[in-house]
Symmetry: C4
Subunit: 278 residues, 4 copies
């Protein structure tokens, strides 16, 4: 088990190539945010864009388009029902995140099935929140499991793996990861990452981050890092670590750490660690 | 009568337990904001979330969902008419606040009656603004009065208690509190709290806070504190005091204290007093 | 002719009475913002609320309610078509501002006529922007002209007074003011105020403020000052002066002075001048 | 070829004439932002208004009006389908920008054709993004090419000029510019400007700016500068240079430079260079 430290940030957050354009830093598609949980996908989008993804499209119920754009005109938007455009942007994506605030109804289940069926060979798929529950409940199969990242908290991991929280030992988690083939980011007090090769354990994070939206923000960061950095295993570990690291610094001055403040701090933190690295 | 001071903050705002998750810090449901007064419930939600409640759902007319999410993606949303979901989240809540910008029409009266009927044994119910007027007018009865907090200003207290403003002496207020069984937060120049055991008197606050939204912000703080801190009597007193304390500091540099600025200052103030305490 | 200086601010911006509530600082109703010009009334509302009016209701096309609340939950809202509620809030108002972004169509003409007809004896009526054009065009009469403030720029003053810009001398303006009976705030390079007793001339302001929304912000400040300060002649002069004064300070560091930044600076400036005064 | 430096800023950003009004600094009309790409025209509008254009109207799908006004009440708004009003504001404009987030459908093609047909003799027309693609695809002709500015990236320039990226040498670009008659701002690692007389080459800019919205922000700045400054060739060059210059400064502290932050920095930067100049 490898403990995550600042080293992962210096390793991952490289100086950007001078001759580049927005496509160089990846196309991310974020799918989520239903009638009740629209804020979740907005927070994911803020994290993704502030982490430096080149182009970000958000697929969400239309009522969420207004507040998303009021906060973040940098995003592009589609509705769940825009099937044709949806699959067009999904196919062209470097990374697709599905799940934050997605809910469980028939429409979003159909979208999830479509996204799983359309996964491209080199495309990363991040499955979060209620999308994990849907995969577990409907036993949906993965086309390229090695290109899939699940981000369950302990209850979602129970649904996906069948392991009770007590049974969620490193060994059992590794065994289940192997069976699934996908990377597992198991969110808990000290988040663990199982990717079939390494087990990473987070060393930072605090109770001030225990508030609605923290997971949505992390999911958006994972998508943003996976979209732009080459070694996805490292990129994902860096996202997990940096999310908590920023949270710890904010918690020095804040009793509760609002997730949107983590996103706002991202460009500055990434620059700082970029300077320390290459 | 006990005068509120900084001591109440150090007593209430404890260090958060390291092993925790968002559920640890409570589920709050805030109900209010009609066609005309949507801003009220938005301000309550900002106060509740910035005070550290773990999960906050806002029930309000759909037109208010856009601006709420534009300011605060951390909140979840429902409409008054989403009966089934509404009662589901209400039943699961640790604290329900009803009233800010609620209005007086038949729809919201029905929601209020439903909320009163569904109150759970250990659930706190904060009744504010027009919900107080509705309770008084329709003589609605309380299921668990000891778990109810009313937050009337003097005119609303008159409606609820029958006491004219002149008659609202400490003694009379205590007598009426006893009859009602609920906690009374009587908002006035120096706000008083009657909970059947202690009478608290606020010692801070200023005329710069006399502007629309100040009461909505206080109601949201009360809900947020009640959601996460164990001793609710103390928590409520701490919310009342901190609201005015922040307002006094802001009034040093501002002729009028916009209520939303109080909410923005909350995480920093709570951290400061948390450090001074345990 | 009296030149406006810092003295007017110290004179007007008094310490607020300690025993007070939001009603103490006035009820303002702001009417404007059609389909095309919704931003205008939003900017007026920001100015009014940041200047310290106790309770502010904005009457505007419903599509403007979302962005208004996203920026300013402190405001209450109504639509032009909410006739009954509209006249209820208008009747209860201390000051009504009509005009910013109002447009010229039949609906708003009817609202304007209604507002003029409903004016209460002690109520102040601020007529701005296209409402001035409508008054001129339809020769609408005033119920209590001494309680009316017009805020024309030079072209609008031409429409209202019949005076060409060349003819707009102090003497002619005074004569026309006398005829109309209302206060005239003539907006130009150095704005002048004619109120039948004094002629005030502004001494501050700069070309960086020549951008869309500056007049709407001024109108909102005038409403906010009139709502809360007793001597309305002085209050209005103070609003005109402070608006430009803040603009001058902002122009030290900004090539263009966005009107919304003037509003954000208001509570701090008012506190500063309040300290210098009583 | 002339390399752009700080000199162009001191030359262009003159002290504003004291006796002026918002009309003095130009009327800009910005057309773009469809269902999917609404954020693009919002970002253009922020850039245009923050650069000091006197009056800015945004023509965009109605769903984009809410978030635009939530961020920027200073703008006026119309929908693509408001034909009559649209052509009225277009005719009165000093500069029209069409393209950011416009899309390619029949409605916007009709609007583009209308705008091209209505171009006034002294009016500047900035054609950006998908409007360039539409002009190329439908071989639309220009009424006053010398008053037209195209802002293609290399792929769009290929569509417009027929030159492959390899063929896009200074010489070939000059030849194609001559044929088209319009100014070409060719966006790439070091952006080049071809206006028939001079070839400008940008010397600043960085990879942190390679993110969605950077081009939309530049387009808005070009419109804002063209609206208010007399020598349009110089103004456009100044806009291109300043956009990258601000981006370089922001990149010192930010791994990714959000385009909206460039706009927010504009009034301060323009003041700084204005001070250095006249």
């Amino acid at each position: 088990m490898i403990e995550l430290t600042d080293d992962i940030l210096a390793k991952v957050i490289k100086k950007r190539p001078e001759e580049s354009h927005k496509g160089t830093f990846g196309r991310a598609v974020l799918i989520g945010g239903n009638y009740q949980y629209g804020g979740a996908i907005i927070m994911s989008a803020e994290a993704c864009i502030h982490s430096g993804a080149g182009l970000t499209t958000v697929v969400t119920t239309e009522k969420n388009h207004h507040p998303l754009h009021a906060r973040l005109p940098e995003a592009m938007v589609l509705n769940f029902s825009d099937w044709e455009l949806l699959y067009e942007v999904v196919r062209a994506a470097d990374v697709v995140l599905i799940g934050p605030g997605l809910g469980l109804d028939a429409t979003v289940l159909a979208v999830l099935k479509g996204v799983l069926a359309e996964q491209q060979k080199d495309q990363w798929l991040v499955i979060d929140g209620s999308a994990i529950t849907l995969v577990a409940k409907h036993q949906l199969s993965l086309k390229y499991p090695k290109q899939v990242i699940f981000t369950p908290h302990q209850m979602e991991w129970k649904r996906l793996s069948g392991l009770t929280i007590e049974e969620q030992t490193t060994e059992n988690n590794q065994a289940m990861q192997e069976k699934l083939g996908a990377t597992i980011i198991l969110k808990k007090h000290r988040t663990e990452i199982y990717n079939g090769q390494t087990v990473y354990k987070n060393t930072v994070g605090n109770a001030g981050m225990a508030t609605g939206g923290t997971g949505d923000t992390l999911a958006g960061m994972i998508a943003g890092f996976a979209a732009q950095f080459e070694n996805t295993s490292d990129a994902v570990a860096a996202a997990v670590y940096l999310h908590s690291k920023i949270g710890d610094d904010l918690a020095e001055e804040n009793y509760v750490v609002l997730p949107t403040k983590v996103s706002q701090a991202l460009p500055g933190y990434m620059k700082k660690y970029n300077r320390k690295g290459s």
